[in-house]
């Protein structure tokens, strides 16, 4: 009876692994247009929404706190400011991390089908992804513990590393950009 139960359990485990592998295979299949679109969206979100320098500087700018201190704002207002900035800073970090993870998934699963990046570039990219994801975690911890102004240099380094990944990813997704077609010459039409 115990032996039977043992074999049934092994059978169930094998079936579950098979289902899991099958499911992953269908989601991350090479040539999956969903992965491409997800990567394009992540890139647009990073370049257009999260990484513009003026926005990053504004979120982590100390001069707003200095203004509140110099204008003798009550402690309640300053506390509100710090908690709001901390919330937005944490949101920024988690969104950057989320979009970078999305780009990483694209590169791991599908980039090989669409892009011809050299071995060196791929290795460089892998190192960048690993370092950036670790940096995001460290930054998140620093901001969570020390507030929005805890690690200004780390913010700059994270934004710069993310921008660098975007530049490389842009090459992989360049073929999705609209092509500038030359107008047809009148004599190119078949007669």
């Amino acid at each position: 009876m115990i032996q039977l139960l043992f074999f049934v359990l092994i059978g169930v485990a094998l079936l579950a692994s098979l289902l899991l592998i099958g499911r992953r295979g269908s989601v991350r299949a090479e040539g999956d247009s969903g992965a491409l679109l997800e990567a394009r969206r992540a890139l647009d979100s990073l370049q257009g929404g999260l990484l513009p320098e003026e926005l990053v500087q504004r979120i982590f700018a100390r001069d707003d706190l200095d203004y509140l201190s110099s204008s003798a704002a009550p402690k309640a207002v300053r506390d509100l400011f710090v908690s709001e900035r901390k919330r937005v800073a944490l949101s920024w970090i988690s969104q950057v991390r989320c979009q970078i993870s999305s780009l990483k998934r694209f590169h791991v699963g599908a980039a090989r089908s669409y892009a011809r990046l050299g071995m060196r570039t791929e290795l460089k990219l892998a190192c960048h992804f690993a370092a950036l994801l670790v940096a995001c975690r460290a930054l998140r911890l620093a901001v969570y513990v020390g507030g929005p102004y805890a690690a200004p240099r780390m913010v700059g380094a994270t934004a710069a590393a993310a921008a660098s990944i975007c530049t490389i990813s842009e090459q992989s997704l360049a073929f999705l950009n609209p092509v500038q077609l030359k107008p047809f010459a009148s004599n190119s039409l078949p007669s």
Partner: protein
């Protein structure tokens, strides 16, 4: 090209009279139909087309939003106070209504980046708290 011309026309004829980005944001949001998200401006549409006018208004709306997102807190506080004065509402009434209704949430462009919008809402919340604290610290006669 048409959109750019319409944008310049809008800036020259209408928006040049609205100096502050906050006022421009609210004005341009008011030109948008809340049910469809389409902007309407009869004068601009008659000079160009409905579609071109809509695109030009949307462009200017996004621009005003961007300007406001990156403006320092001190400037936002001063713009909000100036806007309040222009509405001829009592400061207390204005701050209560804005604190409760949060009208700025419906004033952002549809395609605004979520984090930028979140950041602007957060700044509005702080700016309102700053104005409320300034009001509280004024002598009773002036506060009304």
């Amino acid at each position: 090209m048409d959109v750019e011309q319409a944008r310049q026309d809008l800036c020259r004829r209408t928006l040049s009279d609205i100096q502050r980005p906050l006022d421009r944001l609210i004005y341009l949001a008011s030109m948008r139909d809340y049910n469809t998200g389409v902007y309407h401006h009869d004068g601009l549409a008659s000079r160009f087309t409905e579609e071109v006018a809509c695109e030009a208004l949307a462009d200017c709306h996004r621009e005003a939003f961007r300007e406001l997102v990156i403006c320092p807190l001190q400037e936002l506080v001063s713009q909000l106070d100036a806007y309040r004065s222009s509405t001829h509402t009592s400061p207390r009434e204005f701050l209560t209504a804005w604190g409760r209704l949060e009208p700025y949430r419906v004033a952002v462009p549809v395609q605004a980046d979520p984090l930028s919008a979140e950041f602007l809402f957060s700044n509005f919340k702080i700016a309102l708290a700053v104005l409320a604290s300034q009001l509280d610290s004024r002598p009773a006669g002036l506060a009304a």
